[in-house]
């Protein structure tokens, strides 16, 4: 049985206790909302897209340490990045969570702190928590692209 330390790595607890980029953005920033119907976790992702880049991102909502730290790390990883890189990172993260089949996507973009979430895969119930903010970000990108 995997131990708690496999799941709750120090960097995860750090992001949970001191979440980065908390708050909201006013329009014309785009807003998307995600729910985890299993446990009731809710998340809001606000992004500003300028010159094909995610120039700003804010996160609101409430949830467990895994969903909140994943959102915090995600916001730090993608802020200021070109949309193409952000989409690639979403794909890579989902792949790490074992929910995207097929070839390993472009691994050139560094995962950085996100690597710490790898342990979540050993706790299948929690994968949905880790992935919630990423799906919501993908939805925000779709809205921004319309």
């Amino acid at each position: 049985m995997p131990g708690l330390e496999d799941l709750y790595r120090e960097i995860i607890l750090d992001h949970y206790k001191s979440p980065r980029n908390r708050g909201s953005l006013e329009p014309p920033a785009v807003r998307a909302e995600g729910h985890n119907p299993l446990c009731g976790d809710e998340i809001e992702v606000f992004i500003t897209v300028e010159d094909d880049k995610v120039s700003d991102i804010k996160i609101s909502g409430q949830g467990c340490s895994i969903s909140q730290s994943s959102a915090s790390m995600m916001s730090a990883a993608i802020k200021g990045k070109p949309i193409a890189d952000v989409r690639a990172l979403i794909s890579r993260f989902k792949h790490m969570m074992s929910i995207e089949e097929g070839e390993v996507p472009d691994t050139s973009a560094p995962l950085g702190d996100l690597e710490a979430l790898q342990g979540v895969v050993k706790f299948p119930v929690r994968i949905k928590c880790a992935i919630l903010s990423w799906n919501t970000l993908a939805e925000a990108l779709d809205i921004a692209g319309e």
Binding site: M1, G3, L4, L7, Y8, L13, K17, L38, C39, G40, D41, E42, Q62, G63, C64, S65, I66, S67, Q68, F123, R126, C129
Partner: protein, 410 residues
């Protein structure tokens, strides 16, 4: 004779399971209960020696299977003190039972301008079927609010019931543990000409039930929460109401005759039992009813009062202001379902740490999102106790909570 919880535990094989060297501490019975060997054997024996479809065939085994299936219905009827066994309809689960009432009774009785009264402590199964019907038929839904200690606020009940055609409410909250005054609520509904539909999912497994003393019109409940198998639920309804309603699901077994021009319905209870029924599950359910009756529902209720008091005292004593337990502190008006918030640790994280010592609790919204919003949270930890739980298991919960607190202290 005092209640021998160890003897009860010996009847439930799964409770002896050891996972990673530690015993299982199962505190999720409000979600679904464990099964005694009597139920397991009844189903296995039936499949091993007696299995046959019911109702349709003349051979000996089919007749015997039909007797066993109908015997289960008779046991259930007696268990809730229903006037007639044919007033008990087998469904897939309590959710289907409530959908049956909302759709079949609702389509014959609810129209634009009508009102159905629900309460803020209902779970989704007693909300969504009414919302679905309201969207189709244009009636409106009113809600009985809650008091600050998690009881129904009945101060405006007469106003809320004015013009209502149905009052559908839970006998016991699956989140707060609150036991509602069913007889009083039924009487209030009847005074205003409304029918009273009781959701007994959480109450029927844990205390004596008497639909005639309540004077209720419908009662929905499920097998898997009362030590029976999954896959079968029950709806009891007054004969006159069940007779007058249109059928719910159509198909074999529920018809008297079918012609190209149309069909006529079978008599009760077959009218509401379309298709091949959960025969094996019904036999398991019958064994569950026998098992619970053998122990005595009043004895089970008394055990749960004692263990609930112990849990309330232990949690408060150990954690003080670090724990917020929802619902009443008065064990005479609450069951053994305890929802709580612990420090600022998210329920998902609490349950993850508890799982390290095999303490099984539910974390989440408990299929009661409107109530969760009223409580100002999107999730709670819920420990729910039953006839087989012990004070030692409550201690194990407390120990595991301490560990979770140490791990997550912000």
């Amino acid at each position: 004779m005092s209640y021998d919880v160890q003897k009860v535990r010996d009847d439930f094989p799964v409770l002896a399971e050891v996972i990673n060297g530690k015993p299982l501490v199962y505190l999720d019975s409000a979600n679904s209960s464990q099964k005694p060997v009597a139920v397991i054997n009844a189903m296995a024996d039936f499949m091993s020696h007696e299995y046959s479809p019911t109702n349709r065939s003349a051979y000996h085994m089919a007749a015997h299977a039909t007797d066993l299936y109908e015997g289960a219905r008779t046991k259930v009827a007696k268990f809730i003190n229903a006037p007639h066994a044919h007033e008990v309809v087998f469904t897939k689960n309590a959710t289907e039972s409530l959908n049956l009432v909302a759709r079949a009774w609702g389509s014959a009785n609810l129209n634009k301008g009508d009102v159905v009264l629900l309460t803020h402590m209902e779970h989704h199964a007693n909300i969504v079927p009414w919302q679905m019907m309201a969207a189709e038929r244009g009636f409106s839904i009113r809600w009985v609010p809650l008091t600050s200690d998690g009881l129904l606020d009945l101060s405006d009940l007469d106003t809320l019931l004015t013009g209502a055609k149905a009052f559908s409410f839970t006998a016991m909250s699956n989140v707060l543990g609150t036991i509602n005054p069913v007889g009083e609520l039924v009487a209030a509904a009847h005074k205003h000409g409304a029918i009273a539909i009781v959701d007994g999912c959480q109450s029927v497994p844990h205390m004596p039930t008497d639909v005639q003393a309540w004077d209720a019109d419908f009662l929905a409940f499920s097998s898997h929460k009362m030590v029976g198998p999954t896959g079968i639920g029950m709806l009891w309804g007054r004969e006159a109401l069940l007779d007058a309603m249109p059928p719910f699901l159509g198909g074999g077994n529920m018809i008297a005759d079918v012609k190209l021009e149309g069909f006529t319905c079978a008599e009760l209870p077959a009218k509401y039992e379309a298709g091949t029924q959960p025969i094996i599950e019904a036999i398991g359910l019958g064994a569950a009813v026998d098992y619970l009756t053998g122990i005595g529902m009043q004895n089970i209720r008394q055990h749960e009062i004692e263990i609930t008091q112990y849990a309330l005292d232990s949690l408060t004593h150990r954690f003080g202001d670090d724990i917020v337990i929802h619902g009443s502190r008065d064990v005479s008006v609450r069951g053994a379902t305890l929802s709580f918030a612990y420090k600022d640790v998210h329920p998902h994280d609490v349950s993850q740490v508890l799982d390290q010592t095999n303490v099984c609790v539910r974390a989440g919204h408990h299929c009661a999102k409107p109530l969760m919003r009223l409580l100002g949270s999107n999730a709670t930890v819920r420990a729910s106790l039953y006839l087989y739980n012990t004070n030692q298991e409550v201690d194990a919960l407390c120990d595991a909570l301490s560990a979770a607190g140490d791990f997550f202290t912000l």
